[in-house]
């Protein structure tokens, strides 16, 4: 085994261009680099589930308390109740529905009651003639599942709403009839990390008057 020439060492350290290596020393460098070339070629494919697992944990960590609560209540779990407790709980629920229910109207999300000073009014539009309800949700309402309701005053199937957004990039989707989450067909889309698409809107800073 021959000792490593200083110039070979500099090439292997990435400090000297390979082309500047004298030809008689290249064999030494080639032999060593060739070893790792074979290891680079056998590089394993990315584990398909790795990204999804990472992003799921990252999103959970970035959730607001409201979002954590919402995920908690959506997660099915077994609950054991005695017949007496179940009967009392059911009676209480019925009483609450009778007494309080009629006083409650639909509860749209209220965004930006006091919009940020730099907020820019942004219009969301979706043509959906068959829809009876359309809403938009996104990072600007912490992905609230009710979203912000769009209106179709003319009954033409063109739904729209104006939402004050802070300048920057926002991700959103439309919610059709409270069930179907649909990215905006007229906007750029990005993966949401779970195999679905979100739409992207870039809100420029408001022009100073």
């Amino acid at each position: 085994m021959t000792a490593e020439h200083e110039l070979v060492a500099r090439v292997l350290d990435g400090e000297l261009e390979y082309d500047r290596l004298p030809p008689e020393l290249r064999r030494q460098a080639d032999a060593f680099l060739g070893l790792f070339q074979s290891l680079r070629e056998e590089r394993p494919p990315n584990p398909v589930a790795l990204r999804a697992a990472v992003m799921a944990r990252v999103r959970r960590g970035a959730e607001s308390p409201w979002e954590r609560w919402w995920r908690w209540v959506r997660t099915p779990r077994a609950v054991q109740l005695s017949p007496l407790t179940a009967t009392l709980a059911l009676a209480a629920a019925v009483a609450a529905a009778v007494l309080i229910g009629p006083r409650l109207g639909p509860g749209p999300v209220r965004v930006a009651e006091a919009p940020a000073p730099n907020a820019v009014i942004t219009r969301f539009v979706l043509v959906a003639p068959a829809a009876s309800r359309v809403a938009v949700t996104g990072d600007f309402v912490s992905w609230h599942p009710e979203g912000v309701a769009l209106s179709d005053a003319a009954g033409s199937g063109m739904w729209s709403v104006d939402v004050p957004l802070t300048p920057g990039v926002h991700h959103y989707v439309f919610i059709i009839d409270g069930r179907e989450w649909l990215p905006d067909p007229n906007a750029s889309q990005v993966d949401d990390g779970f195999g679905e698409k979100n739409s992207v809107v870039l809100v420029p800073p408001r022009a100073e008057s």
């Binding site: 070893l35 680079r40 056998e42 590089r43 584990p47 990390g193």
Partner: protein, 168 residues
């Protein structure tokens, strides 16, 4: 960048392959590598605020992966050696004899790397498999560049000793 999950997703796409390749050589197991990298990326997201220089992100990320690999090795005490199932990529283009030789050569290199001290194997894989620069490795391994060059020199020497018939 901190807290921006979408931007972080792009970083995951960009660097997970390098991280998995490195972790697989360090742990000797594809499953363990995936676990280590998943934990490392989640920790990286939680600590993004501490990475003040985006240009040094890769080195900073590899510091986390490297530390997670060491923790994993300390927990498991002994590395497990699994055949790499995805090794036949270059072999598909080679005649059977050449493919067999290539597989055998790679197996010998892996065994030689495994026989090296952990810090030497770590440096060689980081430099020559995942392609980190010396400054990135300095960030990742928290070692000065001159000390790193000395470590690489010794690691190369050690590897050559184990592979004398392959490397002159």
């Amino acid at each position: 960048m901190e807290g921006d999950t979408e931007a972080f997703g792009l970083l995951v796409d960009r660097y997970q392959g390098d991280c998995v390749a490195f972790a697989q050589h360090m742990t000797g197991s594809a499953d363990d590598a995936a676990d280590v990298v998943q934990e490392s990326l989640v920790r990286a997201f939680k600590s993004l605020g501490r990475c003040r220089d985006r240009d040094r992100f890769r080195g900073w990320l590899f510091r986390i992966v490297s530390n997670q690999c060491k923790s994993h090795l300390a927990r498991s005490q002994q590395r497990r050696h699994e055949p790499l199932e995805a090794v036949d990529v270059p072999a598909a283009d080679l005649p059977p004899d050449a493919a067999l030789e290539a597989d055998e050569a790679r197996a010998r290199i892996r065994r030689a790397l495994d026989a090296l001290p952990t810090n030497h194997r770590e440096a060689l894989v980081m430099k020559y498999v995942t392609g980190l620069s010396l400054p990135e490795m300095s960030e990742a391994l928290e070692v000065s560049v001159p000390a790193l060059k000395m470590r690489l020199l010794r690691a190369r020497h050690g590897l050559r000793q184990l592979l004398t018939e392959v490397v002159p």
